[in-house]
Amino acid sequence: MTQAPAKSLLVPDARTRARNASERRFRLMGMAAVAIGLVALVVLLVSVLGNGLSSFRQTYVTIPITLDAAVLDKSGNRNPDEMKKVTTLGYGKLMQTALIAALAEKGVDTGDLKPKEIMGMMSKEAPADLREAVLSDPSLVGQTITFPAFATSRIDGYFKGRVTMESAARDANINPEQLALADRMAAAGLIETRLNWGFLTRPDASELRPEAAGLGVAILGSAYMMIVVLVLSLPIGVAASIYLEELAPKNRWTDLIEINIANLAAVPSIVFGILALALFINIAGLPQSAPIVGGLVLTLMTLPTIIIATRASLKAVPPSIRDAALGVGASKMQTIFHHVLPLAMPGILTGTILGLARALGESAPLLLIGMVAFVRDYPSAPPEGLFDPASALPVQVYSWTQRADPAFVERASGAIIVLLVFLLAMNALAIILRRRFERRW
């Protein structure tokens, strides 16, 4: 028998070195995984913010416009119903005259541009806005008002760097002389780029006027759907969980229900869309494109999430609380509503908010129920408004990315930013609720 060679504890042997090395490798792999995730996030944020932040600013042409009573209100009654006969075409002519006059007054050289080309720098939405303003306040007729009107998306793109002189030379929708005139108008203070709240409040617009497109209808539609989801899924989900967790006997049936709820949570969302089309639209006869139908689909989708979260937080309430309540003579009902449910509330709310956040970003089921649509009228106030057509934030992103005009790319990214802000706010609220009210035993 030979004696093993003496080993020092201070000098690691081969096996220890190998183990240490493998630990270092694992650590590095973990760091690499985190780094990849971070890089992906940064790339995503940079591209979305880089493309989309500019959609919150818009280029306006601000000119004084004389609202000529002889054109706008021939009868002189200032009666909006009669004044409606003047279409946007009539207002367009008025605006063209005002624009040319304003250029002449400021001494801006218009070069060889024809009046139609100069007017072509204004958005087609501008006369419609002017008409709207006049019809809602007929007393404006006869006055001279200073009216900020949208410039077209190409002029807007020029001031944001998307359109250049070289690209304009090849572009059928704008020419370099118009851009040069835009520069001179900016120098004269007629054109400026400033914050555009309209991006959040205005409705969608057609391909001829991307500069006027906004998220107003989509935000309202999403909000309405979230109201429906909250109002339906929270009570139903909580009631179902309380029954399953606290009252139901444990047998084969409840096991089956439990498995099915877990399975439902994993069903692809488009399947819920098909179900909704058959059930709510074809059988129940609810209207197409309406937030109520969208809300009902998303409720179906969110329910399993809420039930699972609620059951988990009910389970986390220690049995001693229940025992104590029952021990001093509370009924089962009283135990649940006075003691268990309040303690489980932070967990339930967190689960609900996360479920809502998921529902807010969902677009696939809405495809089938007609919410991926061009909707320009705001839905009225709930509850009637729930049946009016509306759009939703994620589907607005989808439909803008399909439009031909490059200006819609910027707006789609802007819509993504708005959606991300809403999601972040909801997740932050969930974290705050959890931190604030959660109790540990």
Binding site: K84, T87, T88, L89, K124, A128, R131, V163, S167, A168, R170, D171, A172, N173, A205, S206, E207, L208, R209, I227, V228, V231, L232, L234, P235, I281, N282, A284, G285, L286, P287, Q288, S289, I292, G370, V372, A373, F374, V375, R376, D377, P382, P383, E384, L386, F387, D388, P389, S399, T401, Q402, R403, A404, D405, P406
Partner: protein, 350 residues
Amino acid sequence: MTIRFPLLSALMAALACGPAAARDNLQIAGSSTVLPYATIVAELFGENFDHPTPVVEGGGSGAGRKKLCEGLGEATIDIANSSSRIKQSDLDLCNANGVTGVMEVRFGYDGIVFAALRDAPEYAFTPAHWFRAMSARIVQDGALVENRLRDWAEVDPALPPQEIIAFIPGSKHGTREVFDHNVLLAGCKETGAYDLYAAAAIGDEEAVKKEAEKACLDLRTDGLAVEIDGDYTETLARVQANPTGIGVFGLSFYQSNTDRLRVYTMSGVTPSVDTIASGEYPVSRPLYFYVKLAHMGVIPGLREYVAFFLSDEVAGPDGPLADYGLVPDPELHKTQAMVAAEQPMEPLSQ
């Protein structure tokens, strides 16, 4: 907890009475090619009439026509946009569901253009070029052989030497039908492949024709003919990723992106609103929408919308639709008269 229940009961009340209230906005669905035109008209309609802005959905021509034929009533759509003509199967479905009066409205034409990035070389195409580049089999020394051409210069020495790669619309697109019929089939006949297919086919005259036409439309499967099932924005993205690629676009899409794309001639004609209207440019198709006549006078604004869509100031040569790339229909006045008479469409002659 206390605020939830009033909200819930309000919702229940709304559920009970809501759907009974009459729908006052139009519902339109269908072709994504017609979608931009329909949104432009809807926007103007909402602005200038006392009716709310119609709700316009995309989803594709076939899906739109199917929705139109789902039945009558407020839960169904009023108008289906379509970039190809309605099919007998759609009309059968309509009849089965009680939708009997359908009015066919042709409001203009759409050109289909071949375009590439700005700095791509110059091509002058003919249908025969496209057939030789895209087809599964081509004619060589009087016989059909598998297509192994990889370069446009091999297709025709007059074309610049550049690798063949083309992004064509997928089979669910209305655009594809036109591409098949006006380009591939024309090229097939021009190069003589059609006659060879017809000679090989068996059966009566009708069967031979069908067989040969079908064989003409077989595309090569080695990855040089890429079918795009999405919309033109996807085609554009693919062309940008493959600078040697050539894409098939709608004229209106090209007109919105002239700063990035250059367009190629077909049989010596440059596509434009004028050359398509005159019929010189060979690749174009009519655009339609189909109106449910039973909803006329029931859904408020339907009659006005259809008349407004077809009015000279909208669909005419100086209207906003032409600005966007619609080729105006020279027979617009006939259609206007037909719409005024609310004349249902004749049975398809086939």
